[in-house]
């Protein structure tokens, strides 16, 4: 098999800014600036070392601010696909060293309502009181109906992730645990079957990464973390159409929306010849507890309908076979709006593969898998990263 072009791309810088429910004195621009400065320091690079910028819709503003033109630009701000796009640009010679960043502060101010990014104004959604928790609940409910998945399964996921955040010194909900599954079930109901503690938080923060060529990566400050594979499954725009588990497109029910991420994972594993049993760390996206159960099934870690039992008995704790979301994720680390928390799944994967995480380091971690999205939003993206190049 010819060497995959993405295998000559590495992540050489990662940074999370301060994260908080509210970052007093910050705007989205100032916290993004903190993220960019932080990631350049981590990588041991200066702004003039960058020849590519991927910072959402503000990319060109940042090229000017960084003074790094002429530079390749992206308009994306969608997490893993944005990282894969930057990696592809590097692999094809469009750029050599790309900074990816996002920051959000001062966006969520109407606290009586759910966060603005959770409730778009689509005419077939808005009068029914939909927001993200309800969208994802409709998927979870269908799975419970099909397979007998129980609230206790969901609660075990939430307690595990929240306990990872409880011991993480930089998590917003650091020290707020520990939690038992019963604590999750005892919290007030938000959108049945999701209790409050089954749901992610809302917060503010920034995050950034730097990617470069394998050749350049070997000369930089940090041990490079290598791209092994990736993929993205989308079924349509988020929060406009009914989040139907059985929604199909060009492929059959095996690839229905409820299994979003299945094809993406198959492609990602095929790029590097690995299987789910090779994954040491599962930095999965956790907007809601059920989503972890579904991802284990969709990505091939267990069979359809087996995810509920799969997450019991310590399998998903650090020390177990498939440790999940080791920084506390969207539930306990941070969930800074539209993009930041998407990138943070990649960042935590890099931290685990570098080794030396201050909490919940997975011993000997060599392969990490991270994800974004979920069928409540009609997409799931995945990426595989390695301590060694493929």
């Amino acid at each position: 098999m010819a060497r995959h072009p993405l295998h000559d791309v590495a992540i050489v810088g990662v940074h999370n800014t301060a994260q908080a429910r509210v970052l007093d004195g910050h705007t989205s621009d100032t916290i993004t600036l903190d993220a960019v400065r932080g990631v350049l320091a981590d990588a041991g690079l200066g702004p003039k070392d960058l020849d590519g910028v991927s910072i959402g819709g503000q990319g060109t503003q940042w090229i000017y601010q960084l003074g790094c033109g002429p530079a390749w630009r992206s308009g994306r701000g969608d997490g893993i696909p944005q990282v894969l796009e930057a990696a592809s640009a590097i692999a094809t010679g469009l750029a050599t060293t790309v900074v990816i960043a996002a920051g959000s502060a001062g966006v969520y101010t109407e606290r009586e309502s759910t966060a603005p990014w959770t409730r778009p104004a689509n005419e077939f959604v808005v009068p029914w009181g939909l927001f993200t928790a309800a969208e994802f609940a409709l998927i979870a409910r269908r799975h419970m109906h099909m397979y007998g998945t129980k609230p206790e399964h969901l609660a075990t996921v939430a307690a595990t992730i929240r306990n990872n955040g409880h011991v993480h010194p930089d998590a917003i909900y650091s020290g707020r645990g520990p939690f038992t599954p019963q604590d999750i079930l005892d919290s007030r109901m938000v959108a049945d079957p999701f209790h409050l503690l089954d749901c992610s938080m809302t917060s503010e923060g920034g995050a950034a990464l730097v990617l470069t060529t394998g050749e350049r990566a070997r000369d930089l400050a940090q041990a490079p973390v290598w791209l092994l594979g990736g993929g993205g499954d989308s079924y349509g725009p988020s929060y406009q159409h009914p989040p139907v588990f059985d929604l199909t497109g060009r492929l059959g029910t095996e690839y229905a929306n409820g299994w979003a991420g299945r094809l993406a994972a198959q492609r990602a594993f095929a790029m590097c010849g690995l299987t789910p049993s090779d994954v040491d760390v599962c930095e999965f996206y956790d907007p809601f507890s059920f989503e972890i159960i579904r991802q284990f099934e969709a990505f091939g870690f267990c069979g359809e309908g087996e995810g509920g039992e799969f997450v019991m008995d310590g399998t998903i704790e650090v020390g177990g076979r498939s440790p999940i979301t080791t920084d506390g994720g969207l539930m306990a680390f941070s969930h800074g709006g539209a993009t930041v928390q998407l990138l943070q799944r990649v960042i935590r994967s890099v931290q685990q593969l570098r080794g030396g995480c201050l909490s919940r380091q997975v011993a000997g971690a060599e392969v990490a898998m991270c994800s974004n999205g979920g069928p409540g939003a009609l997409f799931t993206d995945v990426m595989l990263l390695g301590k060694e190049a493929a």
Binding site: E112, G129, A137, R141, M189, V190, Q240
Partner: protein
């Protein structure tokens, strides 16, 4: 507060889910969706069917999702179907919503799916497979929303 179309007269028992009142965020009809919302105001639940391949199309769209033909015709649904999935919401999207409310995806008998709220029963009664029929509620002069209520018994089914 029943829309212009014919509809069963009924009243809620205590603890039963009701429609939302004025003040909730309302749909803004587009060129594509205006016939649908006009239908709701008349008490008619409309959907599109492709004249080229007979597929049903909903949400309203400019072209068929199966064959991409633009030759779509509006048809009237009998307004009867089954609950495909549901969630009872206790934390509202905005303060304009009264909780709890039951969000549902409904499988219409004509073979398409739509989102709505189930009303006219207790939150604990909502279940996958529950038979429901449309119940229109006028929210203001322009917008009438298609809610769904349980079909209590086969004899009680009345097409709107």
């Amino acid at each position: 507060m029943t829309a212009g179309g014919p509809s069963r007269e009924w009243s809620l028992a205590e603890g039963e889910l009701d429609a939302q009142g004025a003040g909730i965020p309302l749909p803004r009809p587009t060129v594509v969706s205006k016939p649908y919302w006009d239908g709701c105001r008349r008490g008619e639940l409309l959907f599109q069917r492709c004249r080229a391949c007979s597929a049903t199309v909903f949400n309203p769209a400019p072209a068929c999702r199966q064959c991409l033909s633009s030759d779509l015709a509006w048809e009237r649904s009998a307004g009867v179907g089954s609950v495909y999935s549901w969630t009872v919401v206790h934390r509202p999207q905005t303060p304009a919503f009264t909780v709890p409310y039951a969000v549902a995806i409904v499988d219409l008998d004509e073979g398409y799916q739509m989102m709505s709220n189930v009303i006219g029963c207790r939150p604990d009664d909502v279940a996958i497979g529950m038979r429901v029929r449309v119940e229109f509620r006028a929210i203001d002069d322009e917008i009438t929303l298609p809610y769904f209520v349980p079909v209590v018994a086969p004899g009680a089914v009345t097409n709107p």
